[in-house]
């Protein structure tokens, strides 16, 4: 007799009749208070596997691209990083679309807090991706990790700002995957810019060397403002 059989057998032997007052008792029971960390961890479990695959793919490209010395690794990471914004926006949209139906305790949290929690989680994940990718790329191809991070962050933040603005518009509310189109357009723009507008790109890189960090800070501020506006208007959409 193996453990599984033993378990099944004991389950049967320790039979207990169905309690009659369980549901009424549990309903009368005050809901459990949960901490912010627990709430965030709970929200992590609702993020789809496909979203995690996209995040992992970005890290994998950075690591394997650097490991095999593929010269375009940084450009590829810069191009695919906006898709992490698209994934985040799809997740946020999902919360809105289903009115948090996936949440067991939907009555305990507002849509606003759920959306905010998801944005925080996905933002943290993006920062982790960047924190892993930038030193790896910088270590392999030379340069400073901060410079790589700045180069990757600028298109990422611009995509985020555009996505958040569009998501709030009628077009965005009507189309859950508009952010994927925006991320795709950004990736296409990055890939074409080097070939078709080399002078502008050279100028941009010079600008980044001097003002890159400041630009990132400014874009972060705008992105935070846009996120705040999105979260603020979220209740009205629910």
């Amino acid at each position: 007799m193996n453990k599984k059989e033993l378990k099944a057998m004991l389950n049967d032997a320790f039979y207990a009749p169905e309690p009659e007052e369980k549901q009424s008792f549990l309903k009368s029971f005050p809901p459990r208070r949960i901490t912010m960390v627990e709430f965030l961890l709970q929200q992590i479990s609702y993020i789809r596997i496909s979203s995690w695959i996209v995040f992992l793919a970005i890290v994998a490209v950075a690591i394997f691209g650097s490991a095999f010395g593929i010269g375009m690794t940084e450009d590829i990471v810069t191009m695919i990083m906006p898709f992490s914004v698209a994934v985040a926006m799809v997740e946020v949209n999902r919360s809105r679309k289903y009115n948090m139906a996936e949440l067991e305790m939907s009555t305990r949290f507002s849509l606003r807090s759920v959306v905010f929690a998801r944005m925080v989680i996905l933002g943290i994940v993006s920062i982790i991706i960047l924190a892993i990718s930038s030193p790896v790329i910088a270590g392999t191809f030379g340069g400073k990790a901060l410079q790589v991070a700045v180069r990757v962050l600028i298109p990422y933040l611009i995509t985020m700002i555009i996505c958040l603005r569009v998501e709030r518009s009628t077009l965005g509310r009507g189309n859950g995957y508009i952010s994927v189109v925006i991320a795709g357009a950004m990736a296409l723009f990055i890939s074409c810019a080097d070939s078709y507008t080399p002078a502008i790109i050279a100028c941009y890189r010079e600008l980044l060397a001097d003002w890159g960090l400041l630009m990132v800070i400014a874009l972060f501020a705008i992105a935070f403002y846009e996120q705040w506006k999105t979260v603020k208007t979220m209740e009205a959409f629910a």
Partner: protein, 148 residues
């Protein structure tokens, strides 16, 4: 902590000790109410306190009324079963074990408690728990062979 799942575990544990549905349910609810009045909130690690409260309430119940060895409810449940004969055999084999061993098997295999939770609930070391569990399983297997 999944409250409903926890309720089922405590209720099953109490029912095992009391063998009476309504009393088991009363004790289960009393366990939760006592816990919440003291601690105010639930966390995953709190289940061992619930077991302790439930066990103490069961002891109080034993003192209050003398327990009957077999109630109608058990017979009823057996009659309802599709696999009556098999269940009866296992039940008989289980009843030959000391109550402490039965409790161990219930907590580990039916309520699926971790070794850590169990050792803390029962106040014994993990090593002692492993040994006692192994012994209980062995004895149950032997009893089953005899029954068959």
């Amino acid at each position: 902590m999944d409250l409903e799942k926890t309720y089922d575990k405590i209720y099953r544990y109490v029912y095992f000790k009391i063998n009476n549905r309504s009393i088991a349910e009363d004790i289960t609810q009393e366990t939760f109410l006592r816990f919440i009045s003291k601690k105010g909130d639930f966390h995953d690690s709190d289940i061992r306190y619930l077991y302790t409260i439930a066990r103490n309430l069961c002891i109080d119940e034993y003192r209050r009324v003398k327990p009957e060895p077999l109630t109608d409810e058990i017979n009823h449940s057996v009659v309802d079963s599709d696999n009556t004969e098999n269940r009866l055999l296992v039940k008989q084999a289980l009843e030959k074990l000391p109550v402490e061993d039965q409790e161990l098997l219930l907590l580990r295999y039916v309520n699926e408690e971790s070794v850590n939770t169990m050792s803390k609930t029962l106040g014994i070391s993990r090593f002692a728990l492993y040994r006692r569990l192994k012994n209980a399983e062995e004895k149950l297997r032997l009893n089953l062979e005899v029954e068959e």
